[in-house]
């Protein structure tokens, strides 16, 4: 699965391929590794953006493309308008602190007419921002706010980018890997709850 490792190498180099799966149910070798994904749509996008599309693969039957952050906003617009991906299922991120570009930003899209899913992925550094997709799909509003809340990734042009699940004055972004599982904003807890610690 070389393609997959390249795009999501975990910290600490613990990426041993899983062992001990031999007795598992009938193995399906076709899905076990990421294979290049070719389709008319991908060819068209590659023709348009060239090396802006860094990778297009299928893993376990699911298609994804990895693109440069500079073209992602335009690409999402094209995917909705031209390729009929009218439903933005989810926007989320994954943090890889040991990487130079620390974050994977992931859009999961679905097309009602084509009954097809695609994941769009881009790698960004800490502090780098991307253009908001709220004008493309209204649902991006809360989803982007959650990504901002949990990871501190900013979206340019978002109409109201602020925390959504944590309180407004909270410090830190809990889904970053350097945020401990029992860590909390002690100052906030003291000031607002009047207790020493919430633990």
């Amino acid at each position: 699965m070389p393609e997959e490792i390249k795009s999501s190498t975990p910290p600490g180099g613990e990426s041993k391929p899983a062992a001990g799966h031999a007795p598992a149910a009938p193995a399906k070798p076709a899905g076990a590794t990421a294979v290049p994904w070719e389709s008319a749509m991908v060819a068209k996008l590659k023709g348009q953006y060239g090396s802006g599309i860094r990778e297009s693969s299928t893993y376990l039957g699911q298609n994804y493309i990895v693109v440069e952050p500079s073209i992602v906003a335009e690409l999402l617009q094209i995917l909705r308008d031209r390729e009929q991906f009218d439903y933005c299922v989810d926007i989320t991120a994954v943090h890889y602190p040991d990487r130079e570009k620390q974050f994977d930003l992931v859009w999961i899209l679905y097309s009602f007419p084509r009954n097809e899913r695609i994941r769009v992925k881009t790698l960004i550094a800490d502090g780098e921002s991307v253009r908001s997709a709220v004008s493309v799909w209204a649902t991006a509003n809360w989803l982007e706010r959650e990504v901002f809340d949990m990871f501190g990734i900013r979206f340019d042009g978002h109409p109201d980018l602020k925390r959504i699940l944590l309180p407004d004055g909270w410090k830190g972004h809990p889904l970053r890997k350097d945020y401990g599982i029992i860590q909390q904003d002690q100052e906030w807890v003291k000031a607002n709850l009047g207790i020493e610690s919430g633990q």
Partner: protein
């Protein structure tokens, strides 16, 4: 409801700029409160809080309403009161250990949560549950859909002022919970499934109990409908209330019965079948107007369709093992997977990133309630305060899942 602006000691002196600095309005930057030439009394606009402690918000949801008299000019949801950091917890548990946690998101449909999670991890491990396990999963999940819809109907009707359906639906939901209890020992947070299949074989008389329930419940659904479907008050309170157009619903990513009531015939059980759903005949009910009444009829019909699925599943349940061969220490190969199912509330998805270790590197839950709640603002703008209650009910949110 607390009405901060009206309990202000000196309302006559309060200008809009003072109003802006008050606590409840600091969230309202986008609602354009700035009208410097008008005093508070001129403007006729009130900003009030609904919740977070309010029975009709079905949990701890706070909605800030901007009102002109009884008319809603805009809303803003303040959520997160139940945030437990489920996704963070997941990164610090093994795949097996995290399984019970998912039950506690949408706790009225715990079986669905478990199904989505188990199937996602199975996909990542590249294993498949045996056919008998899939059938058991379908039976329990559809029973759970039924229970979730019954709870929705009871509380939704209660919010609108019809008290009787609550007692009827809870009476009948009890029968489902009894089956769950006999099957796995728990009624709500069932932890019914394991990665790779089911832990428990069905108990002696399981099929009999389920068929008994299938015969028992259809007249009860007719009973609910008799109380509501043609009830004039019910019609007045739900017809043309909280309308969401097909285009808006799609743009807002709304799923489940809310999307179907707006006329989109889309159900993941048909569109991308999982478990054993491709084996069964059932219809996808849809609505035409996207109003609260349509969402009611869609869910009522979904209950009947669930019964249809359960009957087919019980009659055709295959013999065989209930667990696939699963390694004792689960280490999915490095990679990512997104798997989603049609939960009673809509599309429930799990995006799991594995780094090849025993613990997931990242689990993202795509919660239907969270995304559907975002549509509240569109649905209540221009409506009356009382309609906000109806719309929160019709969205069928569970705050445990919204906040995770």
């Amino acid at each position: 409801m607390t009405d901060r602006t009206i309990t202000d000691p000196k309302p006559a002196d309060t200008t809009t700029s003072d109003l802006k600095t008050s606590d409840s309005t600091k969230f309202l930057s986008h609602l354009e409160l700035d009208q410097p030439d008008k005093t508070f009394l001129d403007s006729n606009e009130l900003v009030i809080n609904m919740g977070p402690q309010h029975p009709a918000t079905h949990g701890v949801l706070r909605v800030i309403l901007k009102l002109d008299g009884e008319k809603v000019l805009g809303t803003e949801c303040v959520i997160g009161y139940l945030h437990r950091g489920v996704e963070k917890i997941a990164e610090n548990r093994t795949y097996t250990m995290f399984n019970p946690y998912v039950d506690r998101m949408d706790y009225v449909a715990a079986v669905s949560n478990g199904l989505g999670y188990c199937e996602a991890v199975e996909k990542l491990l590249n294993i498949e549950a045996p056919p008998r396990a899939k059938y058991i999963r379908v039976i329990l999940t559809e029973l759970n859909r039924m229970a979730s819809h019954q709870l929705w109907l009871g509380t939704h009707a209660l919010d609108i002022g019809a008290m009787t359906p609550l007692f009827y639906t809870f009476r009948d939901r009890e029968e489902i919970l009894k089956i769950f209890e006999k099957y796995c020992g728990a009624r709500l947070t069932t932890h019914a499934f394991r990665i790779g299949g089911c832990q428990y074989e069905t108990y002696e008389g399981f099929e009999r109990d389920v068929i008994k329930f299938l015969d028992f419940v259809p007249p009860k659904i007719d009973e609910y409908e008799e109380l509501l479907t043609t009830n004039r008050i019910w019609l007045e309170r739900t017809k043309n209330v909280g309308v969401i157009s097909r285009a808006d619903a799609i743009a807002l990513g709304v799923t489940g019965p809310v999307l179907r009531a707006s006329g989109v015939k889309w159900d993941l059980r048909k569109a991308q079948p999982y478990a054993a759903y491709s084996d069964f005949d059932f219809e996808i009910p849809i609505g035409a107007n996207g109003d609260t009444y349509d969402r009611y009829t869609v869910r009522m019909e979904e209950m009947r369709q669930s019964l249809r699925i359960i009957r087919q599943a019980v009659e055709r349940i295959p013999e065989g093992p209930i667990m696939a061969k699963v390694p004792k220490v689960m280490k999915p190969p490095v990679g990512e997977i997104y798997h989603s199912i049609e939960a009673p509330k809509g599309e429930l998805g799990y995006f799991i990133v594995s780094d090849g270790s025993t613990q997931p590197y990242r689990i993202r839950v795509r919660p239907p309630s969270f995304v559907n709640l975002q549509a509240l603002d569109v649905m209540v703008r221009g409506a009356l305060v009382a309609d906000v209650i109806a719309v929160i009910g019709t969205l069928d949110i569970v705050l445990g899942e919204v906040d995770r």
